[in-house]
């Protein structure tokens, strides 16, 4: 496990220095073809190795933002930098190597006939072949505890297994930043526990979009609330989850009986 912060992921485009933020979003604006303004000037900075939860009501623009981080959405205005690299046409391949995006619906991400082929898809696109490719697949499957699922078909997996395999498909590209969209939705408690353990053990910068507030508290020391297409709150998770007025204003609510003050979150 590498310590967060070392320049261990030097890329061909001049590796990011120790103080370069992992993710830097400035003044991002974006509207959909039907005219709806999804992002209205969003700023966000995430440093290397940080884990940040993105909270907010449905329709706030969180998923839209995630799609900007790897260049799938093209902004109307503003910039996104990943490890200092500007997200733009000529550098998209490198950006997509650096940012690993795990989608909400694991089925959308597992499109190959077997788990092994799905996990191999990303690194194969990066040029790996043969033994190197196999080794990378093994590494990614081991990281999520799915070694035994290599030859299985995606639609015969349980929800939790699918989620972990989807994560493996992304980890296989050795990203610098992991972006997860609602990773615990639809999981049973055991599946959720497995996922939390896996993510907690990864020393990568993580942005986690979630409605699962206890999960956010357990995994992410820092939380950001996004509403109406911009960041409206940015603080330590414990502080945010105890600010009742803020939560209420943005349609957030703690689960019944859950007291964030009674829990010691991970660092």
């Amino acid at each position: 496990m590498t310590a967060a912060g070392g320049a261990t992921h030097a890329s061909t485009r001049g590796g990011p220095g120790p103080s370069t933020p992992a993710v830097e979003v400035s003044g991002l604006r974006f509207h959909y073809p039907d005219g709806h303004e999804a992002l209205t000037g969003l700023d966000l900075r995430v440093d290397r190795g940080q884990r940040v939860a993105l909270l907010g009501p449905n329709g706030a623009g969180k998923t839209t933002l995630a799609l900007h981080l790897n260049g799938i959405n093209v902004a109307d205005a503003g910039t996104v930098r990943i490890g200092g690299l500007l997200v733009s046409e000529p550098d998209l391949a490198e950006v997509r190597r650096r940012v690993g995006l795990v989608f909400q619906d694991a089925d959308d991400q597992l499109f190959m006939p077997t788990v092994g082929e799905d996990v191999a898809f990303g690194p194969a696109n990066l040029g790996l072949r043969g033994a190197a490719l196999d080794a990378r697949v093994d590494e990614a499957l081991a990281a999520v505890g799915a070694d035994d699922l290599r030859t299985r078909t995606p639609h015969h997996l349980s929800g939790g297994e699918r989620r972990r395999v989807a994560l493996a498909t992304v980890l296989a590209m050795r990203p610098d930043v992991l972006v997860l969209d609602e990773p615990t939705s639809g999981l049973d408690p055991a599946g959720r526990r497995e996922l939390v353990d896996v993510l907690g053990a990864l020393a990568i910068t993580q942005l986690v979009i979630t409605h699962d507030l206890p999960f956010a508290l357990e995994l992410c020391p820092r939380s950001v609330i996004v509403d109406d297409g911009r960041v409206v709150a940015d603080a330590a998770t414990t502080d945010l989850l105890t600010a009742d007025a803020v939560l209420r204003r943005h349609r957030l609510e703690l689960p019944f009986g859950f007291d964030p003050r009674s829990v010691t979150p991970h660092g």
């Binding site: 073809p33 799938i72 959405n73 093209v74 046409e89 998209l92």
Partner: protein, 338 residues
């Protein structure tokens, strides 16, 4: 309509195979230009949709059910080239993975179920759109008629192929009359389901209907509610009327038409057979009471099918240079590959 092996002779199997491969090849080239790196996931999911839609049945009458073919529907939603490729993939996988349709019959199965229905159905759609109003209702009506007619069109294509490659002594007339007659009725269900389905897509995501890409917002919101029951009854009556006319052709005994023709001296019964030497299968021509009429019907059918399919192809080719597709709008918002 998934014909098994040996249904038509080898020559026909090979010829239709070559035609199908050509059409599919050309369609793939168009798809690559139109969809670029989106072609695999979009066509793949569309193929899954068509396959699933074919699996599920819809009620026809008193508990009996029917199944969708989907060729014209695919063409109107995705464009005829993509539609043809999508249905081709469905038909081929059905043959390989489910033993539905012979492997040596793929040439004519693909031609009839994918190429003729997609391109021919789209050709009919284009013609109808010229005469029907330029709004959502017009598109829905055109879809219904085009999809409904694509089914007997497909059957007619099979009958023409039978003329060349029959493997049994059933005359062309009988095959034509029976197949087209029955499929005119089957087409009613296909037409209705396709029309309502396209209507539903138009209401929610009009940008996903290739056949309506020229309509603007105002035209899209113009809808006239049509009752289902009178529509179905009307369509069935019309189909029955046509079927009755067509199936006369298949009747084994000479009918009024031939008697009239003999009396008027158009044909004589003891002339040298027109079809004696030629590429036609002996079987299909054996027992034809009236060769001239049969040949004329076959000829007209062949020409009509070719024209409609050609029209479908032409609109696709023309579109590549000209009109902007709704996808172009989306491309400005999302970046593809570097």
């Amino acid at each position: 309509m998934h014909a098994p092996d040996g249904f038509l002779n080898a020559g026909t199997a090979v010829t239709t195979g070559v035609l199908s491969m050509g059409a599919v090849g050309a369609s793939l080239r168009h798809m690559r230009t139109a969809l670029a790196d989106r072609q695999v996931p979009l066509a793949g999911l569309a193929a899954a949709f068509i396959f699933a839609a074919q699996m599920f049945n819809f009620p026809v009458a008193a508990g009996t059910t029917g199944h969708l073919l989907g060729g014209a529907l695919a063409a109107i939603l995705l464009g005829p080239a993509t539609g043809a490729v999508v249905v081709t993939v469905v038909v081929v996988v059905q043959a390989l993975a489910f033993a539905d349709g012979g492997l040596t019959a793929l040439g004519y199965n693909v031609l009839n179920m994918a190429i003729v229905t997609a391109f021919g159905g789209y050709g009919i759609f284009v013609l109808l759109r010229r005469v029907l109003p330029d709004d959502a209702t017009g598109v829905v009506a055109a879809t219904g008629l085009a999809a409904g007619l694509s089914v007997p069109l497909s059957a007619a294509a099979f009958a023409v192929e039978w003329l060349f490659g029959a493997s049994a002594p059933v005359p062309f007339d009988t095959v034509f009359g029976a197949m087209v007659g029955v499929h005119l009725l089957i087409g009613v269900g296909e037409g209705l389901i396709s029309a309502v389905a396209v209507g539903a897509v138009l209401a929610a995501r009009p940008d996903l209907v290739y056949g309506a890409r020229d309509l603007d917002r105002a035209q899209l919101t113009t809808r006239r509610r049509v009752g289902m029951r009178p529509f179905v009854i009307g369509a069935v009556l019309v189909a029955l009327l046509f079927a009755a006319v067509v199936s006369q052709f298949a009747a084994p005994d000479p009918d009024g038409l031939e008697r009239v023709a003999e009396d008027q001296g158009f044909i004589t019964s003891a002339e040298d057979h027109v079809l004696a030497s030629g590429p036609f299968a002996d079987y299909a021509t054996a027992g034809l009471r009236n060769e001239s009429v049969s040949l004329a019907v076959a000829g007209v059918t062949g020409v009509v099918i070719s024209l409609l399919v050609g029209l479908g192809i032409v609109t696709v080719v023309r579109d590549r240079g000209g009109r902007r597709s709704p996808d172009a709008d989306r491309e400005r918002r999302t970046a593809g590959t570097a």
